[in-house]
Structures are given as structure tokens and as C-alpha cells.
Subunit: 331 residues, 2 copies
């Protein structure tokens, strides 16, 4: 049968453009014994994918030019020669960016039957939700008395981190890039919101939003945000470094914060993490998150682009702040 | 009686000069009940003191202009109206930079009677030795299989850190600023030494010195050293930030490393620390260090300036790399 996939046509320099992607038709062979055919229903685009478009060593291998991209996806088994995954099974995989794929079962995870929409397993119940939970509890050792600063606070990870920290009893300050996102965060109960595009000096704005200082910084952005956070951290503060989206499209090395001496003066801990390293705690997360959702304690937003061919646009939109909450493509 | 002290005459801009200090004669009152008169025998100069010469909030209050400076010192009680500290007692205190001082016993610690030279309690058995031990074990969680990079490796802290890491079974790479210091480190058994002044690209030099990568970086310097370390860290590496001497005299903010993304890519932990926070572990340190010294397993160097009036010169010399091991002033 014929399927469609999106391949990396060329490595982006700076912000990706649609020219870096190509939409390709290709033929799949017939199923062998043990194999299943999966039709993708939803796919995820995430900022970390930008790193894989560069040809350099990182925690995952770079994407190859002329091959389909990869990323989180939810699909349905539509043909099966594998009894573990009968027709009709919903599965998550990293085989996004394509309409269909064949698998021998490797890399497929069956999605439990719940009342939640399927695509929530790419968002609140999936990687972004787990990232927020991991960064706060397993890296930043969140305490109820903490004041927490969260950058990119209306994003898929940030908006969940804000709500988890509020439920834990913390005071939460978020930074966003538009008035609309500011309003969204206030609806979520965040104590103070900074629009970094209009706030002027970010360090001063943060000092005003959190006069008591910051105990935990959930870092998604880098650059000025990190500098502002360092200036406003309290002694023994913890910085969980989840992402540095301000730097992903930089064509030249960006200088780090000029106030790193704060790390000594305030005895800070800065720790980077990758959620996949913590996946053995997924069950613990899912149980807790499932309960919060069931109790109506947590909300989430989705920004949905329609059709596989819109995936490059959705991905590029991440760097232009076009998403509220989780950015998704519906196939 | 008349005593001499060195006061802060003005706050330095950039590298301190002797003009920033004044040598002052002044009169001490007679002893009251409960007080002792201490004659200082040795005093310490340390890079961290530079921070206290700036008028800004830090972990200790800034020095005041027109008042005596402060710093570690070893003295002898020469007059006593306090039975806890009879005449002849050797004490350590933070009342350096003066020939004598009066105390009611507060801030004095009696030095145990050992075969060690008195001034070792300002060096290997004192704050610098304890700093090396704390950074390696309590911050960087040193393991015998680690490859450890230590900057300012021939200094009071660095030279002890090198030897502790070697005794723990680690592979050790040190960086220094002269051939003479390089020779010294090789005598101490360090596996590879980089002279950063002649090495060219420091990141490449480190890659060559430690092709297996760095697991622990003991940071005393900052700037290019931190950037080189980040490039060469292994996954889950730990950076104990003890000092940033390359930046202490900067008159403008210095940009941080341009490769902070390594913190995520390699899942690194960067943690600043102040040895005074860990002083409740001093006994554990002193016992261990005393044993190493008794077994002849550890060596230390001293660079001694003679006379209180030479203290400013000794202090300024720290930033010019004039010390091998501990920089001391003998009064």
C-alpha cells in the first residue's frame, strides 16, 4: 500500500523553514508473520526535535537527511499478524511524521483504555506531563514552601508544571510571550505572570513578581531568563534545566549568563535532565496525574494542526510561540 | 598597647593594588574580665576575600572602608583574663590582618596540640583542605572510577583536591599556569597536567589529556575552563563550583559559557558550595586528613610572605599566580 511520510530534506540553519522538509509518497511491503500495520491518528511536535536536526552527538542520534523524521505518535493497529497487538489496539510509538508504519511490536506501547482522549497520551499523560512532574519532584526536590519560577509557562510542559506546583502548595510565577497566554495562566491560578516581551528588564520584573525570591526555577528557555532567575534565586535554590528553547535556532554560540558567580554566592544546584532517563517512574506519575485529572484539578490546552502535511508548520510554530499547551498534529 | 592593622582604604576596581590598603597603628584598651589578648603569628590570604571588597550582598557581609580586613589567622594568647584560654594557648580565628586583638573568647577555636606546624591549620588541616574534601565528597559524590578535572590545581585547594582524588583511585587531570607548577603537580602523581597559558585551545587540550571524558570537574577558575570542562564532561557528570578566580577582578560582567546546553544533553549537575556550610563535618575531615598526613600520603606547599605589611602584596599575588600551594603571611 502507499503511505505518506515527512522526511528531513536539509538541515536547518537558524529557524527551520518548510524547505527543510519534504512530503514523500512511498510503498509499504506486505506484512510478515509477527508484524502489524499501524495507522497514525495523532502526532506530537516538540522543541527537542530541533536538536536532532543538527548533525552532532547528543542523547539521541541525529535525524538523517532523506529519511522520515521521528517523534511521539498515537495510532491504531489496522492489520495484524501479531497476537499481542490485535486489530483495533491503540498504541503509542516514536514513529510519528508518517501516515502508517509496519512494526514487529518493538517500540509499541499499548494505550490503556480510559475515558481520556487518545491524544492526551502525547500531552498531559505522556512525555510533556511526565517531564513537568520529573523536573519538579525528581530534579528540583519541590517543597510546598517553595516559590517556583517557570519559563515558557503556557507550553505543554510549563502549563502542567505550573499546576502541579500550585497543587503542591507552592507560590508560582510564570513567564510567557503574549497577553493571551498571560490570561490563560491566570485562569490556571498562577500567582504572578510576566510577559517577557513587554516586561522590560526581566530580572527586575521577576524581583517584583517574587519579592521573596525564587527557590526553584524550571528552565525551559535559557538566555535572559536564566540570568534573571540567577539574580533572583534564594540560597540553596535548585534549577531544573529541561530546555533552552531560546538557543535551539541560534546560528552562533550564545554567551551564557554573566552572573554565574551566583551559583557559589547562593550555593545553587543546576541540574539538566532528560525525561526518558526517568521512565521507570512513569507508573507513579500516571497514577498521580490520572487522579488529578479525575478530580478535575488539572487543565490542559491543545493547539491542533490538521493533516500530516501541516506537521512542518506546526513544528516551526513552536519557535514562534504559536502553541498554547501541547502542539499536536491530527492525521 | 599599640598594635598594627591593615584596613581597606578604598574598594578596588579590577585587580587590587597596594593603594587599596592602609597600614594603621592604633591603641588597644586594657583587658576586661573574661577577655584575652591574642598575638597573631600567621595569617591567611584567600581569593574569596576579593568578593568581600565589593559593596554587594553575598554570603558574608562586605568589608568596610576604614576598618581592618578579616581573614583566617593563627595566634597565641599572650595575656588572659579568661580561664578557657590561658596564656600560651594557640587559637585560630577570623581576626587576621592585624598584629594583635582582644577577644572575649567568641570566634576563637583552640588548636589541638599536634606535631604539625601551626600554620597547617590555615592550609591542609584548615579551610583549604576542608574545601577540597567537601567539594569532592559532599558535592561531587566522588567515585573511585571517576576521571576528575581540577583547575588552579597547584593552589591551596587544588593541590589537596588532586591528591585526595588520586588516593581515592581516580584518574586526575589538573590545569596550572606555569611549567614550574606543572612539574610540581607531576611530583604529586597527577595523571595529566595542562598549562592553560601555553595549551592553545583548552577544550582540545582537555580532550587530549582525558580522552575518556571527565566525570567530575572541581571548578576554581571559571571562564574558558568551565567551557572546556562542559565540552568534555561525560553523561551524568558533576561540577563542584568552589571558586571562579578568573572573574573576581573583572570590571564588567563576563559572559558565561556558550555551551550551557551540555547541561541538558549530558544531564549534568552543577553545584556551588561554601565550605562554612559543611563545618559540622570538620571532625570527620580532620581525622581522615590527619591520618593521611601521618602516613606520609599527602604533601603540601606553602608560599610565605614575611611581615604584616606584606599582606596586601601576598593577597594581590594570588591573582597573579604567585603562590604554589597555600599563600601565607608570617607575622
Amino acid at each position: 500500500m502507499n503511505i505518506q511520510e515527512i522526511q528531513l530534506a536539509s538541515r536547518p540553519s537558524g529557524t527551520p523553514t518548510t524547505d527543510n522538509f519534504s512530503f514523500v509518497d512511498r510503498k509499504l511491503p506486505n506484512l510478515q508473520d509477527g508484524e502489524v500495520l499501524v495507522k497514525n491518528l495523532w502526532m506530537s511536535v516538540d522543541p527537542y526535535m530541533r536538536g536532532r536536526m543538527i548533525d552532532q552527538k547528543s542523547y539521541v542520534a541525529p535525524f538523517e537527511i532523506g529519511k522520515a523524521l521521528e517523534g511521539g505518535a498515537i495510532g491504531e493497529v489496522i492489520e495484524s499478524r501479531n497476537t499481542d497487538f490485535p486489530v483495533g489496539t491503540n498504541v503509542s510509538s516514536m514513529f510519528g511524521w508518517r501516515s502508517h508504519f509496519i512494526s514487529n511490536g518493538g517500540g509499541l506501547t499499548q494505550i490503556p483504555t480510559t475515558l481520556l482522549p487518545l491524544q492526551s497520551f502525547l500531552g498531559i499523560m505522556g512525555m510533556p506531563g511526565m517531564t513537568a512532574w520529573t523536573g519538579l519532584f525528581r530534579i528540583a526536590e519541590l517543597k510546598p514552601t517553595d516559590t517556583v519560577f517557570i519559563s515558557a509557562a503556557s507550553g505543554a510542559v510549563g502549563s502542567v508544571a505550573c499546576q502541579i506546583a500550585k497543587m503542591h502548595g507552592c507560590t508560582v510565577v510564570g513567564s510567557v510571550g503574549s497577553d493571551e497566554k498571560e490570561a490563560l495562566l491566570k485562569e490556571l491560578g498562577v500567582d504572578a505572570v510576566i510577559n517577557y516581551k513587554t516586561a522590560g528588564n526581566l530580572s527586575d520584573a521577576l524581583a517584583e513578581a517574587a519579592p521573596q525570591g525564587i527557590d526553584v526555577y524550571f528552565e525551559n528557555v535559557g538566555g535572559e531568563h536564566l540570568e534573571a532567575a540567577l539574580n533572583n534565586m534564594n540560597d540553596y535554590g535548585r534549577i531544573a534545566v529541561c530546555g533552552l528553547i531560546s538557543q535551539y535556532n541560534a546560528t552562533e554560540p550564545q554567551p551564557g549568563p554573566s552572573n554565574l558567580a551566583m551559583v557559589i554566592i547562593k550555593k545553587l544546584k543546576i541540574q539538566g535532565f532528560i525525561v526518558f532517563d526517568h521512565w521507570d517512574h512513569y507508573k507513579e506519575f500516571a497514577q498521580q496525574m490520572g487522579q488529578w485529572i479525575a478530580e478535575g484539578k488539572i487543565k490542559w490546552e491543545e493547539t491542533v494542526y490538521d493533516g500530516l502535511d501541516k506537521a512542518p508548520e506546526a513544528f516551526i510554530g513552536l519557535f514562534e510561540g504559536k502553541n498554547k499547551g501541547k502542539m499536536l498534529v491530527k492525521l
